[in-house]
């Protein structure tokens, strides 16, 4: 068991840290206030190789290991998890194509994204189908050699900037995945949703009205969509956990910096045990969340089933991030409650980690479902 990052990983982390300090953190408050999509930062991230890292080499990507990707995500999210989500949002929709796409589909939809800045989106959630994906009501009716899609997709990250969508639709009793170009007639993109946090991340409603999709754009066989959509999360959840770890790291750094300099009762704030113990707890929880995250990522890279570990990492890291953000605000006192300091944004941003890509309760259900298949826990 070796916890030492390789020289390549260290170099990758340093590059990501430099990019975060230079591009993300200084602009975090601006994009949080304006709610604009950070295209300029994404363009720079693309130039530096931080976008689409998992696309296979034969399609122009870097085929980066999930462990390495988690290290980068933690750095980016330390600057702003909303901007980090905008940069990394492609992964969620690209992975179904990597997993189940044909060579022609990969060349058509993945390869161009490694050549110039482009976005794609994972369109699965619907107004009446969130955690329970099996309730998806969007229909895909076979008409000749095409499918006609109708339905409403909801809270679609990168929805208004995407050039194509991974869409899960109902074909009879089962669900099937499709790649749907965003310029297809019948695609209507809604306005940007005003969410609690992650304002830089673009989240919209996407309506499909008689959208014609050729059979060649179907992912895998009919009825395999649910499996593809769920298998994607084993790949992406460690990355989401790493994003939550980034929030925890930002909260810890800000609280530490503040507590070391702010004076109360004629001594530094950090001299009070009530404050310093909070920092000790944040640091310990961050490390615990990181170990879960990296283990889940490492298992995936080894080709071992990581569904339980990915769920554990995502749930735990999200809860740690939420509590760290709240504690950071507590350390900053009244200033933690104002928009002028970065703590309140961390609270707003952290909350979504307990909800998206499977709510905390869903992660626990996954863990229990794995436990039920065990005779003993070792």
């Amino acid at each position: 068991m070796d916890f030492t990052p390789t020289p390549r990983q260290q170099e990758l982390v340093e590059r990501a840290r430099e990019f975060t300090r230079e591009w993300i953190s200084p602009n975090a408050a601006r994009y949080d206030r304006s709610g604009e999509f950070p295209r300029d930062i994404c363009r720079e991230a693309f130039k530096r190789g931080f976008m689409n890292p998992h696309v296979p080499k034969e399609y122009g990507g870097a085929a980066e290991a999930v462990v390495d990707h988690c290290m980068v995500m933690e750095e980016l999210a330390t600057g702003c998890s909303g901007i980090a989500t905008a940069i990394d949002g492609n992964g969620l929709s690209q992975y179904p194509v990597i997993l189940a796409g044909t060579d022609a589909q990969k060349r058509r939809f993945l390869a161009p994204m490694t050549e110039e800045l482009a976005f794609s989106a994972y369109a699965v959630t619907e107004p009446e189908a969130g955690s329970d994906v099996s309730r998806v009501r969007t229909t895909a009716a076979k008409v000749g050699s095409d499918y006609i899609l109708n339905g409403v997709k909801w809270w679609i990250t990168n929805g208004s900037v995407a050039s194509w969508y991974f869409v899960l639709a109902r074909t009879g009793e089962t669900l099937t995945g499709f790649i749907v170009p965003a310029d297809s007639p019948g695609i209507v993109r809604g306005p940007k949703e005003v969410n609690l946090g992650q304002h830089a991340s673009n989240t919209v409603r996407v309506t499909l009205e008689d959208v014609k999709v050729p059979e060649a754009f179907r992912l895998g066989d009919e009825g395999k969509g649910f499996d593809i959509a769920m298998a994607t999360f084993n790949h992406t959840r460690p990355g989401v956990a790493a994003g939550a770890n980034g929030i925890t790291k930002a909260a810890l750094n800000i609280a530490l910096s503040y507590a070391k300099r702010r004076r109360t009762f004629d001594k530094k704030l950090i001299s009070n045990q009530g404050i310093s113990f909070k920092l000790a707890e944040m640091m310990t929880r961050l490390d615990a969340a990181r170990f879960l995250t990296y283990k889940a990522a490492w298992l995936f890279d080894q080709g071992i089933d990581n569904a339980r570990e990915a769920a554990q990492a995502k749930w735990f890291a999200a809860d740690v991030a939420m509590s760290a953000a709240v504690e950071c605000a507590q350390v900053l006192g009244g200033y933690g409650y104002t928009q002028e300091m970065p703590a309140e944004k961390l609270i707003r941003d952290a909350k979504i980690y307990q909800i998206y890509e499977g709510a905390t309760e869903i992660q626990k259900m996954i863990i229990v479902s794995k436990l039920l298949r065990m005779k003993e826990v070792h």
């Binding site: 840290r17 200084p26 600057g79 790291k249 910096s257 300099r261 004076r263």
Partner: protein, 239 residues
Amino acid sequence: MFEDLRRLVGRIADAFKRRFYGPTFRCPVCHLVLAAIDADGNGLLVCPVCGAVLEIESVYGHVVPVVLDMEIHRPQPKLRLHPLATHLPIGLFPFAVLGALLLAGASLARQLGLGGILGAVSRRAPLVADATLVLLVVAVGFSLATLASGLWDWNFRYRRRSYRQIRVKIAFAIGFLVLGAAAIALHLSGAVFSSADGLMRLGSPGGVAAAFTYLGALLADMVVVATLGHIGGTLVFGG
């Protein structure tokens, strides 16, 4: 349309701040946008508006200010000359620009043989031109006093501390003077306006070039004076 324009202006202002201010943060007390680079060697910065003594540290690119003290006994004269003096040029200059634009419209209308309101202006062109010149001279001339009162404020109220806002204001005030003086010189030179009818000389290429230069200087100066007013406003009222 208006929202698009507002966004465009906001983007230009943001780009301007990034270029001249570098990494910024908001004063946690009065919300003024401050440049982290203005902190001294010990990382200390006094907010020019509220007097909060801030210790600045950057962690992961996030600027984290800590309020160490409040500079309560700072020089705060009862009568602050600069905010008062600034309103004369800022108030008069837009009317000078309006006069010049009316004259340009009237001159163009004369060339095209149009009447209407612009025709009425063209009949009173010498009077409008004289009024425009007087407004220009008073606005630009008085801005010398405004600049002097600003330097006085910086010396005493702000204790000659380095603030990006004040550096930009000094540079823009000099720019306002130079552009304003150029416009006055062009106005007086006779290259822009005809002494016979008071209208712009749009009949010759040289006259058109002079008119464009004159209007360009005035409009650029309008942007400069609006920016000066905006930055000055933030130094009085906070962010």
